[in-house]
Symmetry: C2
Subunit: 356 residues, 2 copies
Amino acid sequence: MSTRRARPTIRDVATQAGVSMTTVSAVVNSKGRVDPATRERVLTAVSEVGWRPRRSARALRSGQTGVFAMCLPVGHVGVGDWLVNAEYDMALVAACAAATVDSERQLLVAPRPKDVTDLVRLDVDGVIIADPREGDQALTVLNNAGVPAVTIDRDVQRTDGWWVETDNEGSTMQVLDHLAERGARRIALVTADAPWAWFEDTSAAYERWCAGHGVKPLVRLIDVERPRATAAAGVRGLLRLKNPPDAIFAIPYGTPLGALDAIVESGRSVPGDVLLAGGMDGQLMQGSSPPITAVDLRPLEMARAAVDLLARRVNGEQAAGPVVVETALRIRASTAGRETPLTSREPATRPAGRRR
Amino acid sequence: MSTRRARPTIRDVATQAGVSMTTVSAVVNSKGRVDPATRERVLTAVSEVGWRPRRSARALRSGQTGVFAMCLPVGHVGVGDWLVNAEYDMALVAACAAATVDSERQLLVAPRPKDVTDLVRLDVDGVIIADPREGDQALTVLNNAGVPAVTIDRDVQRTDGWWVETDNEGSTMQVLDHLAERGARRIALVTADAPWAWFEDTSAAYERWCAGHGVKPLVRLIDVERPRATAAAGVRGLLRLKNPPDAIFAIPYGTPLGALDAIVESGRSVPGDVLLAGGMDGQLMQGSSPPITAVDLRPLEMARAAVDLLARRVNGEQAAGPVVVETALRIRASTAGRETPLTSREPATRPAGRRR
DNA sequence: TAGCCGTGCCGAAAGGTTTCGTCAAAGAAG
DNA sequence: CTTCTTTGACGAAACCTTTCGGCACGGCTA
């Protein structure tokens, strides 16, 4: 006749099964020795009384919360911001969540606080920071408080080994080689001048590739706030050169579309007159006409690697250097070359379907 | 000379400040009466010893974890799945996180477990379920365990008032009226036959609108697994009719692009020959050529409302009926009518910029 | 002066779980 | 028949914070 049974505790389970709390604990944690028959009794008692563990009590006792936090990059408040590749970030979040669950943990998503010192009050076992800014204060704060952290993408000012990154140099070389193989003689780079490793690495690799092939670099910088429009402007300029490029590698998300705008506007065609490749894959690349060849940055693998790395750091392991994830070039019609037929290398479609 | 100071507790703060633990607690929680001078001493002691509260101890004592969980819709494992509007989901997650933080809580993201009963072991104060499936088992499980839950979007089989939804009927009427005003005489609907309230509501509203205007409904259903391709096929069929539509309202994300494919392929133009509107806004709509008029489903507002609603439910309030969020029609070139000049009603650009 | 009240602070218990040390009983070895 | 070992189980402390009741003290009223 009780109005509303209080949530049962391990003690209720113990009395129900006729054993001590210690034994119940041993059973549910698969620790210590316990008679198979007793174990059976305890397990049925658990489901009879409907007990489920309180994470707070466990955490208090063990000193570990069993929670990782993921600090989202800033700017995630507006839909329709061209700078955001929400697919990439969503993939990151979903994959981090899946990976933490696989390691018996939970994932907290935390917007970046106005005051970075609030990060430490999250009171979690570790923090994953996506897209750290240059010399990120958040990392200093976390380090001082002794909170383990790893980043997704390298903070250009940091040298500890606790981050995961893509092989930006390798992917750049791969794209340039691919363009050359498809007949490009003069490849321009459209990128941004911002303090992110992604930009720095790709630019450096481009310079090196050009030097190695004895050609002069041809670079246009865009405004990261308005990638599509400024990329279009930059490419318009390129196409008016006496010796215009016959291929364009556009890095920041959105810029390949700007480049395409300018190319079409000039009366040229892709891939007929100009080959076009993007630095970051996504729906915009697949859905454009023609579809645009782009680098798949492998957010899923990045996320898994980050969670693994953080788990290792939490366990007290020493830094073993950054984890490098290999990228994959998704070849599409925009680089259907003049010398080689197009081979589509789209990944196999995923099993689970979904609406919308 | 201690190798590594253990994390300080409230007791360390107390001794440092020369007061009791009770007083420290009173200070950090702004409860009870404490002399201003004492308060000052305690606060400096807190920062001196670097104390930060342990959420687990608090939670154990108070019986509330201070955590909400958000259960992501399935299917979020692959980038590049056309069915997923990652922007929408990312906005949902980010906004939920922001809202929970505003209410002094934390947000857990939880992939939908294979076994729904695992949901209950999250041990959180409440759960937000995005995109519930028809007669969602997860809700039954949570209800039975007494875990408060709300959903984002209505579960067609449920009648308790604990969900937030968009005004699907209103937005459909708005779109149809807009198309008519821009000169459409015969509007076709491209949608899916799936058990989601979004589809059911819009279809019903379309039928009603048609009846009200004395025109015959013209509907094509697509396969939610391949929205773009099947939408293109459907629209191809429509355009071959003796009396083809002069406007198309395509609901599931991706289908407006399929419609556009078919229209262009048939030698017609948008908006010259056919007006085109989409049921869900996103980058794909903005970035297409021409940009496509679409319904902004307001994920940010949905998320905030969901968190508020869940907070109310956790506090024991009674259901006050579902929360309905008004949508907004984003008018673009694809419905630049023949009778009225185009008025752009794009939302103002967001302040914070971001790369990529 | 006696009684009362408000202020500022404290002691101790409680909340649910894990773990350490202990213990009884039963079997094995001498 | 001892003594030792193994097995299976238990009691109680500890983890950190909040809260309830209470206490001492100074000032006020009657």
